[in-house]
């Protein structure tokens, strides 16, 4: 009833190739942005900001970066967290060594450095693909973290290896309370998600998908596989790099190699698999799922424990969470292998006809 696009005719190609060609989608997104930018900062608790909203957005940005590479360009990568680490440590060094550098420029610089590293570790993709490429990118994960731990320059010769991140100051205004950090992260993530959406609906996005779907045919119509693949690695690593910098500055408050271990790479990979490979929306849904579900489960277990007086030992409780979490992931993959974004798409198809059966 509500979601019906009948009568919305497009008279220009610009309108037809818009990001959201259907009016209801535009209204929906406007409402979401209104809630995210106005309602949440006014109402949410500091816990909600620091434990859920900020990490959710930052990891969504990293997942978006990985989705550009894996979902759109078809190059499997397990080095996501390492590229994030490059972004974080290079941003730290830019702020440390270039006095007065604007914060956003330092973040962007971290992203560019991550992009450069991404290109280097993307070079094997010119010869190998699939699982073998994933193993090659695993080398990035271990090598980069080793480098950041062993080469003192990156950590400014800090003996503990855990550095306190500098305060985030833009034009003299310090972003130090949770709502302020949240708004900064939200603004960056929104803009970069918009840019990603523009890329994937444009020429470069089509080149990536062409390489993913049929590389011989792509080359025959003039796409240079080397350029397209390395560009995918560069753009993807840039996104991961900026996400890594935000992860250190807006979420952890510290810059440390251990935060960017293989576990984080896998979590981000799970996000795009659960959220939906090859969609921008999927990165956000997957991130929300992976970040929120463990918290919801532990709250649930604690709630059951206190109301039913089960006296569940804490070790059993935490293992129970892991088991339910794993079970849910498998359940989702069996029921909908194309992820949450696909479920949303099917829901929209159904909504177009609702309340009629067909």
């Amino acid at each position: 009833m509500l979601y019906r696009e009948a009568g919305q005719f497009k008279s220009t190609y610009a309108a037809d190739s818009a990001i959201l060609p259907i009016r209801q989608d535009r209204i929906g997104l406007a409402l979401i942005l209104l809630v995210a930018f106005v309602v949440i900062p006014l109402t949410a608790t500091p816990y909600l900001f620091s434990a859920i909203l900020i990490p959710c957005l930052i990891l969504a940005l990293a997942a978006l970066g990985l989705n550009l590479l894996t979902g759109y360009a078809g190059q499997l990568s397990l080095g996501t967290a390492a590229f994030m680490a490059v972004g974080a440590f290079m941003s730290y060094n830019f702020i440390l060594r270039i006095p007065g550098i604007p914060l956003l420029l330092a973040f962007a610089g971290g992203g560019v450095m991550a992009a450069a590293v991404g290109i280097v570790f993307g070079l094997p993709s010119l010869r190998i693909r699939g699982f073998y490429l994933a193993v090659a990118t695993l080398a990035a994960q271990f090598f980069i973290l080793w480098c950041l731990t062993k080469v003192g320059w990156f950590t400014n010769y800090n003996p503990s290896g855990v550095i306190t991140a500098q305060p985030m100051v833009i034009l003299g205004y310090a972003f130090d309370t949770p709502p302020e950090k949240y708004l900064l992260v939200l603004s960056i993530v929104t803009l970069m998600a918009l840019a990603a959406k523009n890329m994937v609906r444009g020429n470069i996005g089509r080149q990536w998908m062409a390489i993913r779907d049929m590389d011989v045919a792509a080359e025959v119509i003039g796409i240079r596989p080397m350029r397209a693949k390395l560009l995918a690695f560069a753009v993807s690593s840039f996104y991961c790099g900026v996400a890594g910098a935000l992860f250190a500055y807006a979420y952890l408050g510290t810059v440390e190699p251990e935060a960017y271990n293989l576990d984080l790479s896998f979590r981000i990979l799970f996000m795009i698999i659960i959220g939906g490979v090859g969609t921008v929306l999927g990165a956000f849904l997957g991130s929300a799922f992976i970040v929120v579900l463990p918290i919801a489960l532990s709250t649930g277990v604690a709630f059951l424990d206190s109301t039913l007086h089960l006296n569940v030992p804490s070790s059993v409780g935490s293992n129970l969470e892991l088991m339910v979490f794993g079970g849910l992931i498998i359940f989702f993959l069996i029921v909908e292998p194309h992820g949450l974004a696909r479920i949303w798409q099917i829901t929209k198809e159904k909504l177009r006809l609702w309340p009629f059966p067909y």
Binding site: A195, I204, M209, D213, E219, I221
Partner: protein, 262 residues
């Protein structure tokens, strides 16, 4: 539309081209030319080297011997994306569409060489990137109209029936505005009606855009009807070359197709 069809000078010339995979000689000393605006058919039994010949022309394989001259310039071990930039487009024997993309996106991809905007411009969707996208969309719509596939514009190609997929692949090749179009069995596996449609499209492309066409086809009726000249391959060798009538009456060709009495 005025007919621009007047067969001109050779645009593509192969001299003594040989291609071997280990001990297998896929192409053995092939020489032929393709003239401007003509429809040139390549025929031959299975395994004769027809597809290998197309692959050599557009740079998928590099011949060990021989020279390829395109528009007066000899080329040496050119990659496929370079031949694409020269204006050579092709379709494949087995459909090679981008299955995860819509028909429109597939055809738009065919115009990637016409789009020059940088990644940054595309990311902000402003200025040149936006203008190029819309201008190329208009061109793609012309191709869509020409091949009569308006109704499936937004459909993912994986959901289309075989005959339409073949047509979309032709559309993707045409979107690049090629001067030389290589078609690898464009009518294979089609029913009579689809074949007639495809023949009409090939003839229209040749007549209205003046595109030179090289096609491989097994349906002799089609080949004899639409092609200007035919080259016949067998076991990697050229055994016949000439107009359809000449080829039809050639003893070597008849022997290759029907066998030789012992």
């Amino acid at each position: 539309m005025t007919a621009v069809r007047a067969i001109g000078d050779p645009v593509l010339r192969l001299d003594g081209v040989s291609l071997a995979f280990g001990g297998v000689k896929a192409l053995n000393d092939i020489s032929l030319d393709v003239r401007e605006h003509e429809i040139r058919a390549i025929i031959g039994p299975n395994g004769a080297g027809k597809s290998s010949l197309l692959n050599v022309i557009n740079g998928v394989y590099h011949p060990q011997q021989g020279t390829i001259t395109f528009r007066g310039k000899p080329r040496h071990n050119m990659d496929t994306h370079e031949t694409a930039a020269l204006g050579i487009a092709r379709t494949f024997q087995n459909i090679a569409l981008f299955r995860g993309m819509s028909v429109l996106d597939n055809i738009m991809t065919g115009r990637n060489l016409k789009m020059k905007a940088s990644v940054l411009e595309q990311a902000i969707w402003f200025g040149r990137a936006r203008r190029e996208e819309l201008a190329n969309r208009a061109k793609v719509e012309e191709v869509i109209d020409f091949l009569e596939i308006q109704h499936i514009r937004k459909t993912p190609v994986g959901r289309l029936p075989y005959g339409l997929q073949k047509r979309v692949e032709l559309a993707r090749a045409l979107a690049a505005e090629p001067s030389l179009l290589l078609l690898d069995e464009p009518m294979a596996g089609m029913n009579v009606e689809e074949k007639q449609d495809m023949c009409r499209f090939v003839l229209d492309v040749n007549e209205q855009f003046g595109t030179t066409v090289v096609l491989i086809e097994h349906d002799m009726g089609v080949v004899m009807d639409i092609s200007d000249r035919v080259v016949v391959l067998d076991y990697g060798r050229k055994i016949g070359d000439g107009t359809p009538d000449e080829v039809r009456s050639s003893k070597a060709v008849i022997d290759a197709y029907l066998g030789v009495p012992h």
